[in-house]
Amino acid sequence: MINSRPRGRPLLRTSYAQDLALLDTPAKRWWTAALLVLAFALPFLLTDDLLQLLAVGCVAAIGAIGLGLVTGYAGQVSLGHAFFLGIGAYTAAALSGDPDGRVIGFGVTDIALWLPAAGLVAALAGVLVAPLATRLRGLYLAIVTLGLVFIGQHVFNEWSALTGGAGVGRPAATLEFLGRPLAVTDGLGTRDQKLFWLMLVLLVVFAVAARNLARSRIGRAFTAIRDRDIAAGVIGVNLPRYKTLAFAVSSFYAGCAGALLYTVTGFFDPGSFSLLLSVQYIAMVLIGGAGTISGAVAGAFFITLLPRLTREMQAWVPFISTQPNEVPNVFQVETILYGVLIIVFLIFEPRGLFGLWVRARAYWKAWPFSY
């Protein structure tokens, strides 16, 4: 009985498997269960517009997890996430598009086909970029990936047969599974309720996969590269191979997130994939807490809900206007908040929202001697 613990000693670990377990303490198991139950019950508690926002949050979280893997775990700064999101979005939209429509379409409407395809095409793009990434470090890499965003935006803007052209756009991928539409209002629930459940399930799948990757040999190689790449190379981590892998996995996540992101709103144009999108994802990872999956998820929801929060805040801060042509308006406040929050978190709590949680946890664990 190697894997068992003595009764009443839930924190005692007697095997490596217990040490590596995803939910290694009873408290984590209870919290996760409670959170999951609450999340799946949310569609009965919230209104449809909030659910739609949370569905977007789930998708953004998938993208943020991807960026977290390459930037937070492997330490390779990527400002090019918007590029990979775009590739995924257009692959999915083109695959599931109407073959007789205005823009390229192949009529493969099943999510089980276009979602992996979008991820794989984006991952392929990631692998193509990787030769540059493996040769460069730190800030050089950041600027090169920033260049990718600009090149990508140019291609998306000009290739109007695929993207519909700047300012026009095209419909996003259709949500169908085995010939059945997934997101329509019927007896079972409204469109937004179903959307939320779908995205939540996908988020759980992607998040668990990422956690498993992070605690595997590959994940440890990533963190070794992040902490000191020369040392990692010396102890036998194949740097080019693992950096390429990090970019491929991250781009796969980005591709899937991009493919799903616009199914919620149903329409998107090439202008979406700008530097600001990349900055938003960087903000999600950093505000949530770099190098943690749950942090990336928390950050994604935080950033997605931020516009809504500033609009609600407007009721208490009357000098902020909701009209886009007045100063200061909610849109400006929102953008400033991105910037300021990044700065504040990096200076005062580099571990992000996850760090705040760790602090709170440590406080109560040691209570009443928490000094």
Partner: protein, 294 residues
């Protein structure tokens, strides 16, 4: 032939603007080992300050005033957002400057508002003709201003005590500190210089046209420039800036012959050039090769 020479001259004009911006990036990088993504915001702030100052004090007084003001702004940012981060990884500081950029630009954009603003430069779109070749005066002015500023900067680094201190701190911070150089002051001077340069560059970028929020994209073009020239090389920044400017104007002139490239391909040529150069030389054309000691 005339077309070629004219686009070359235009390229030198825009290239000078890039060179000035790139110098700002390199100065900050050499002092603090950080790429400041806040430079675009400083440039925009400088230009907008010029548009507000020109009607009251005139263009020639407005530019130095705006440059000084932007320098002070950069100094403030360095003090509040960057100084507390000394010793933290360069990437973290770079992301902080990205946050500064986003926040400052929103404020500056609010000052631009909805009306068309001009820097009120004396050149406009007038041209200067030498034989069959025509050159816009604003491009000539940009070249002259950049040449003067670059000469001034190099003299400053070469002959003044502060310049010497800055070179020392760039070479080895601890050794400089041990010799009594105030590294904090070097940081401050670097940021202020970079801010001022950005304001001047922005003014020339906006000369002859109007100021709008999209102007910051020009400042981002300085990023491929510094990568091209090497992050820590001042001559590299100048050469890279001119090269990128010329290449961009040449593509703008001749890209129409290649239809599949699409319109406005010249906007992304700097980035493409950067990717190509980095594949061959990962430390840019003039950058110092990083040697890691274990």
């Amino acid at each position: 032939m005339t077309e070629l020479i004219e686009s070359l001259l235009r390229g030198l004009g825009t290239g000078s603007v890039y060179a000035l911006l790139a110098l700002g990036f390199v100065i900050i990088y050499k002092a603090t080992r950080v790429i400041s993504f806040a430079q675009p915001a400083f440039m925009l702030a400088g230009v907008v300050a010029v548009t507000y100052l020109t009607p009251t004090v005139g263009f020639w007084a407005a530019v130095p005033l705006a440059a000084a003001g932007t320098g002070l702004l950069a100094l403030g940012v360095e003090r509040t957002a960057v100084r507390p981060m000394v010793g933290r990884p360069a990437f973290v500081v770079a992301i902080i400057t990205l946050g500064v950029d986003v926040a400052v630009r929103v404020v500056v954009n609010a000052f631009i508002g909805l009306d068309v603003r001009h820097v009120g430069d004396p050149w406009g779109l007038r041209t200067l003709a030498v034989g069959p070749v025509e050159m816009q005066q604003r491009h000539l002015a940009a070249v002259v201003a950049a040449a003067l500023l670059v000469a001034g900067l190099f003299a400053f680094f070469r002959y003044t005590r502060t310049g010497l201190a800055m070179r020392a701190a760039a070479l080895d911070q601890e050794a400089a500190l041990a010799h009594g150089v105030s590294v904090g002051a070097v940081f401050a001077v670097s940021w202020a210089l970079a801010g001022g340069l950005a304001a001047v560059a922005g003014t020339f970028a906006a000369a002859g046209g109007s100021v709008d929020g999209a102007l910051w994209l020009i400042a981002l073009t300085a990023l491929p420039v510094i990568i091209l020239g090497g992050l820590d090389s001042l001559p590299g920044a100048v050469v890279g800036g001119l090269a990128v400017g010329v290449l961009q104007e040449l593509t703008a002139t001749y890209a129409n012959d290649v239809a599949w490239l699409g319109g406005n391909v010249s906007v992304i040529t700097p980035y493409v050039l950067m990717l190509v150069v980095l594949l061959v030389r990962p430390y840019g054309l003039f950058g110092t090769r990083e040697v890691e000691r274990v």
